[in-house]
Every structure is written in C-alpha cells, then in structure tokens.
Amino acid sequence: MERLLFDLSIAIERGKENETSPYPPDLKGKPGAYEFTSRLLEMNCPPDTILKQGMMPGMDRIGKKFADGIVFIPEILIAAKAMKAAMTLLKPYFDNGAVLRKGKVIIGTVAGDLHDIGKNIVCMVLEGAGWEVFDLGVDVTKEKFLASLNEHPESIICMSALLTTTMREMEKSVTTIKQAFPQTKIYLGGAPLTSDFADKIGADGYFPDPHSLSKHLTGNL
C-alpha cells in the first residue's frame, strides 16, 4: 500500500493522468493517477489516506518546484489535471463525509481585472493541498465576494490583481469585507503587489506564489 501511495504521488507530480494518456512519454502505457487511486480503493485504503498521503504530496512537490523556478506553468497544469482525474474517484467520499477537507477558500480576480492564469494556478495548488475552493472567476466585485462569503461564512478569501489600477479595487474589497466579517482572513497575490501593500490596506498577507500561501494556511490550522 505504501508503495502504491508513493506511485500515486509520483503520477500526480509528473502529470500522468491515466494509462492511455500520452504524457510523460517514458510512462507510456503505464498506470496513471486514476489507476493507482482505483487500486488503492479496491484494497480498502481509506480515502482520506489516499488524499493526504498519495495525492497531496505529489501536488506539494510540483508546487514547490514551480515556486523555485524548476518547473513552469505547463508542468503544474498537467499535474493538476492528473490530480483532478484521480479526485473524481474520491468524490463520493467527500460527499458522504468520509474525507474532510482542510477548509474553504473563496477566490477571485478583482473587479476590472481579467488576468486569470495565476489565480487558476492558485486554485489548483490549494485544491491539491486539500482545500475546498470556490472560484468566482475574473472581474469579481466586492458584492460578489460578500455574497459568496454569506453562503460560506467560515471561508478564507483570496484575491488576485495584476494591474496597478485594480490594486485599488482590492483596497475597497478588503475594507468592505472586513467591515462585514472582521474575523475573515484575506490573502492577496498578483504581479504588482507587495507585503507592504497588503498590510497597508488591512489584508492578512501577501504571497508571491500559491505554494507559500498553502504552507502558511496549513501552518495556521
């Protein structure tokens, strides 16, 4: 079982989705994340163990390599794709409560801003780290953040902005959210941002990449 969990983590890290997927070429015809997960389930491995000891370590390793500049966007996308395929097998266990996520995260690119690749990668890494992520998309107004927070009041909020003009929008959103939900943690990221800026507008932190945010969130649990 240990061995299979390790193989699963490698399949995810390397982006091997299933047996028929052509990538990576050296694993052609070999089982992928989907097959390893289904074998583990057949062997009655607890789904929680599959998630935490098989999937999450794979995503964590690729996320760290991405943060360190060893791999790039395509490699993280393909790992996330493999993870997603394997996750479909765990869905029933999430639904019946056999597997618990770490918590909820609401995320969006702020109003006026259409840049979303970075935000999407944050979603993938956080999902891969065991969080339930509600992605509100791009051009998200403070009203939309609030509405989602009303639905999931225990969530953490993550905002992305890539433009100096929309950083200002962030300030308004943070103020509004903190007024209505003073306890809610708000984290920021995106090209022009800095920790100073996050402090100045009353957010709880800035992270340059999703891996460092994920480490911080897990540390806070």
Binding site: G69, F72, P74, L77, D116, N120, T164, T165, R168, P192
Partner: protein
C-alpha cells in the same frame, strides 16, 4: 540628427546624439487626462510636444474580408485568455487543416502606406504585430495550449504553423508594398510573468523558436531592425532570442525578475538595444516627478547610449499622473 536617424543608430548599437524617447501607446482611458494636462488635442500633437522619436505604425485594418470576418475566427465565448477557442478540444490535425485560415489576398495596405508616407522624420516601427504565441493561447485557451504541448504536440505544431504561415505571407506583402517606409519590424508576444518565463526553455525550443526564427529571418531579408515586445521576465531566454535575430527588446518590465537595468547591462550590454525600462508598476504610478527624473537619468547612465527611454508597459494606464510623463520626457533630453 533627426528622430529617425537617432533611433536607427541606437538600435544598431551606434553612437547617437542622445538616447531616444517613446511615450508608448497610452491606454484609451488615459488620453482624455493627458490632453487635458498638456493642452493638446491630438495624439500627434502630444508626441511632438514631448519630443517623441518613435512611431508605432501597425496595419491593424489591412485585413478586409469580404464578409467582415476577423483574421482568425477564434470563436471564443469569453474574454479571458484561459477561455478555450475553436481548438480547445481538438486532438486531431484534420480539424486544424479544415479550419478557415485567413487568406493573405484579403490584405490591402493602401491606407497603411499613406499613413507611413505622412509619418515625418520619426522612426517607424511597423509590420504586422504577429503575436503567434498569444494567438495560439486564444485559439486553444491558454491552459489548453500549454497542456497540449505535452499531450498533443502535433496539434500545437499544426496550429502554430498556420498562424506563422499567415504572418509570413502577410508581412512579406507588407514589406513588398511599404518596406522602404518602415525602419523596424516590431512584433509582440508576452513570454513572461512577473517571476519567470511562462513555459520551460525546452518548450521554447520546441514550440516557439522555430516559428520565431522565421519572422526574424523575414525581417532581416527586408533589412528591418528586429524589435521584440514581450512583457514579463524573459531573462532566461534573452540570449537565445538575440541569437535568433532580435536587435532590441521592449518594454523591459523593470520590476519583473532579473529585468532591472543593472542585470540587463551586465548580461546583454553591447549585444542588443533596449526600449522601455521606466517602471509602470510603482514608479510612474506612485513616484514624484523628481523620482522619475532620477530614475530616467539612472537608466540613461546604466543602459545608454543604446536605450530608448519608454514606460515598461506601452499601454500607460490612467493611474499614471501626466506630470510624471512630463518629467520622463523632459529628463530624456536633459543632461
């Protein structure tokens, strides 16, 4: 020395009387504020006032399909790059081949030629923008494009080949008709994020360089200086791009990783010219005119003489106070 000679010499790595200046191409939302501050009413009037040496003249309207179709009919439902276009789910080359690719015969450069003829003694950066990498992002969806580099490389190659074939044919027609009026072939692709290149060097070698090289070769065939626009941190691939024929990089996003003037000087000085470098992520937005003047002088001393001072993104946003633009322009000519 007129502006045209000045920039031509700077980009060729030769001595000029001063460094160059390009205002950039302010975002549509910024013009009202600029005209208001400078008391101008047309774009050209403002450029003359600021002693702008550079004119970016792109044949945006040359493609005239009889039914008004766009050059690439991407069929994307939304407006973000990650949204999938017509090839979002394509895994088969036949589908790529049967797509309605643009026909160069619909190109008409008459209006473009007229604009160039009236451009005055300014450097003319032209040719088609030719952003094949971005267009591949659009037509697949950015995430699909990157994934297919691994899962369906043959599909990515087939699409890129069509994109580049069009740009080669179109630019050839353009240079045949208007070549004498154009000084630099200015084309763009954003290859970088704030921290690094978007795809690995190995994927650059496989999916970008072979096509990129064809564009630079075409430009060289028509004796154009090659100016590449790429936002973000492209430090890792700049040597390769220089070897592939780039004469000047634009816009040098000052705050992106390894794109600051000192690093650029250390690694690329004497090999290539620079256009841009005046930070739009903090300095031009939040700094004072004095800060801007100091920085322009610093950039001149670090990257000069092979530098054309310009914002680190040409689409100046409305949050940049016009007084900072004034300071930037004035500092160019000053000692």
């Amino acid at each position: 020395m007129n502006s045209r000679e000045r920039i031509t010499r700077i980009l060729a790595g030769e001595k000029a009387d001063r460094c160059g200046f390009w205002l950039g191409n302010p975002h549509p939302d910024s013009w009202a504020g600029l005209h208001d501050y400078f008391g101008t009413s047309t774009e050209e009037e403002l450029r003359l006032l600021l002693k702008d040496d550079f004119r970016w003249i792109c044949p945006w309207n040359a493609y005239q399909h009889p039914e008004g179709k766009p050059v690439f009919d991407m069929q994307r439902p939304g407006k973000t790059l990650s949204e999938g276009g017509v090839f979002a789910d394509t895994i088969n080359i036949d589908e790529v081949e049967s797509f309605n690719w643009p026909q160069p015969e619909y190109l008409d450069f008459t209006g473009y030629k007229e604009t160039l003829e009236n451009a005055g003694d300014f450097y003319r950066a032209g040719g088609l923008w030719s952003p094949f990498f971005h267009e591949a992002c659009d037509i697949f969806g950015m995430e699909n494009y990157f994934l297919k580099m691994y899962t369906h490389p043959e599909v990515v190659h087939a699409v890129t080949q069509h994109l580049i074939d069009y740009y080669l044919a179109a630019n050839r027609l353009c240079f045949e008709e208007c070549g004498d009026l154009i000084d630099g072939f200015f084309f763009g692709n954003d290859f970088g994020s704030q921290h690094d290149i978007l795809v690995s060097p190995a994927l650059f070698t496989e999916f970008i360089y072979p096509y990129f090289r064809k564009l630079t070769e075409l430009g060289k065939e028509y004796h154009k200086q090659i100016i590449l626009h790429s936002c973000g941190s492209i430090f890792r691939v700049m040597n390769d791009l220089i070897a592939l024929g780039v004469d000047a990089f634009h816009p040098l996003q000052a705050k992106a990783a390894d794109m600051d003037a000192d690093t650029l000087k250390q690694h690329f000085s004497g090999k290539v010219a620079f256009i841009g470098a005046i930070d739009t992520q903090d300095l031009l937005v939040n700094g004072s005119p004095d800060d801007v003047i100091k920085e322009v002088n610093r950039i001149k001393s670090v990257l000069g003489p092979s530098v054309v001072i310009s914002p680190s993104h040409e689409a100046l946003l409305p949050d940049v106070p016009p007084r900072n633009i004034e300071a930037m322009a004035k500092a160019v000519a000053g000692k």
